[in-house]
């Protein structure tokens, strides 16, 4: 079964960014808010709360379809696998993802694609994000 990160209690988000720091720490060994596959944003003034963007692990991912070099391939059960060696930095995947879950790494000129490890969810103090099987929301 494929897992993914889901945003289940967005109204509980306090905007601490612990999830983003977790992602950049594990993935890049760096402290950063730019290099994270999960993105927290304010919804327009923090009194209105926050928006969290994660890869939804699409079953038929638009980013894959847009990739001219097959750097992105579908992951069985939903989501994508990224092979950086094949990436030509064309940014098509970034444009194709309308939720902006494909984060653009300006430094490397490559997309940051979620690896569905769930590490970020371990640092959410209010269960805003959970690590769960793909498609669960459709089942319940």
């Amino acid at each position: 079964m494929s897992y993914r990160v889901s945003v289940v209690n967005i109204e509980r988000c306090i905007g601490c960014y612990s999830c983003m720091f977790a992602c950049s720490r594990l993935r890049f060994g760096e402290v950063s808010l730019a290099k994270s596959a999960i993105q927290v944003k304010s919804a327009g003034g923090i009194e209105r709360g926050f928006v969290i963007v994660v890869c939804r692990a699409c079953v038929d991912p638009p980013c894959v379809k847009s990739c001219p070099t097959r750097a992105l391939t579908p992951r069985p059960g939903g989501g994508v696998i990224f092979d950086e060696s094949k990436c030509n930095s064309c940014k098509s995947c970034y444009e194709a993802c309308i939720v902006r879950a494909v984060v653009w790494d300006e430094e490397r000129g490559k997309p940051i694609i979620c690896r569905y490890c769930g590490f970020c969810t371990k640092f959410c103090p209010h269960d805003v994000i959970v690590f769960e099987p793909v498609g669960r929301e459709l089942l319940v």
Binding site: I14, S18, E30, A34, E47
Partner: protein, 591 residues
Amino acid sequence: MMDPSLYNVLYIDLTERKYEVQERRDLFEKYLGGTGVAIKLLEEECPKGVDPFSPDNPIIFAVGPLTGLYPLASKTVAMFKSPLTGNLGESHAGGRSAVAIRLAGYGAIVIKGASKTPVYISIFNDQVKIKDATTLWGMRSSYAVGRVLREVEPGAGKRTIMRIGIAGENLVRYANVVVESYRHFGRLGLGAVFGSKKLKAIVVAGTRSVKIDDLKAYMKVYEEIFRSLTETGVMSKYHVLGTAENVLPLNAMGALPTRNLMQTRFELAENISGEALAEKYLVRKIACTHCPIGCIHLASLRIAFAPGHEYETLIIPYDYEPIYSLGSMLGIGSVEGLLRLIEKVEGLGLDAISTGVAMAWATEAYQRGLISDKETMGLKPNWGEDVEVYIRMAERIAKRANEFYSALADGVEFAASKYGGLDFALACGGNEVPGYHTGPAALVGFLVGPRHSHLDSAGYGIDQKALRSLMTKEEMVRQIVEEERFRNVLTSLVICLFARGEYKLERVVKALEPVGIKTSSEELMRLGAEIQKAKASFKAREGYSPYKVRIAKRFLETPTPLGKLNEEELRSMIKMYIEMAGLESIYTSSN
């Protein structure tokens, strides 16, 4: 090795409209960051005896080596010469400021000079721009300024938007800088220094990364600190009710300053307690960047403005200090009234504590006939009776509407020197008093602390310990000195003081190791003592003397939970403080 971006100090000159970056490894290696680095930069940049409103008065922001790296290392230190006290201006704020500065690639920012026309500074990584702020000048509310800048500047959600309200523009000597709408560089008038430079706002955003020396060790220490902060309940006070939790316990022990400290128990404390606010008004808790606690409590207040279910809804941050200063201190026991007043004061960019204390003095002065309707421009302040009066007073202070309000805008001590009533003008070292009439340790801390703030040494905690078990005055002073030094360590790093229980020295040492800083508890405390001396030197240089600090009679007349305070005893404790902290050569009794 520390990630070298920390050593970058961004120097901005508003007069010349230029900037440069200097690598100041020397400062950061010796003083870590935050308060330690800021006081050294202030020594370098602030000419002796300079007018706080002179272009030569620098504004310094500093973050530290743990900023961005660990939870709750989330604050920025600001230093400047205070227009309120005429000596050390030091103020700390959270919000998104610290991480934004670090990830923009800086350890500190120094702003000097002054613009002739209103400007704001936009910092996005290495792009620094000084932009026209004419249209923002005079804007009614600091909230609105944030809304405008949010639209025109990059970095949504991860940037800091620091700005002043009209109080800062009008050089109210205790004007704040509002950060992310709900946090502040409060106390001592940084907002007025902004105003004197025609600097309306600073936006900082960054997309850089910080590299870690020993990643494996870092991950381990991080996890340990994160789990401890979020799972042990050690921080629950700050998350659950927030600092507003203090209202009822302080009231119960008779330490909640009420009606200009004529009383220490407020019969309406229940109405404005953390519990009451949480149950009926709290709608959201939010956090500073990289803080999983979320102590920022936002209340929602629905106000009917016309018949037919016409409502406006205000979102208002609350904390213990504004509840004290704009609530019990003014006798305001209506939570709706209190929240409306807080919203007004924050929108104007006034410091909540100073404004409340100044208006409390004004109320008593009015009732005693020291000032009349002429001075108040027809307003009749009367303890809590009519909140609208206090809302109007705050506006008039922010606008310096007449000679009287202008005097109030110069601080309660100044106003009382002019109109009388110094005995009940509650300032310590020139700074309006915070809300803890707990006993001698708190008051001595306010009188001698570098910021004259409850945050310098938390004497209220020492008093409460003394309530439980007898403590000599020497022991109290020893604890003040030690706590102040320890806090200098934390604020150099710049760790939120709410996390002081978690970031004990041993843990700080452990947290520093993976980023290439090897130190020990003893070494850190030595640094804390050195910073204590550096701050005292600056204060002494600018004319402050703890020997001559004024103690208002009201502090002595109104009993604390530890009994009535005695001036002689307080003075002897001040002397002890100077000796124990080793400040005799700095504060000589003759100056």
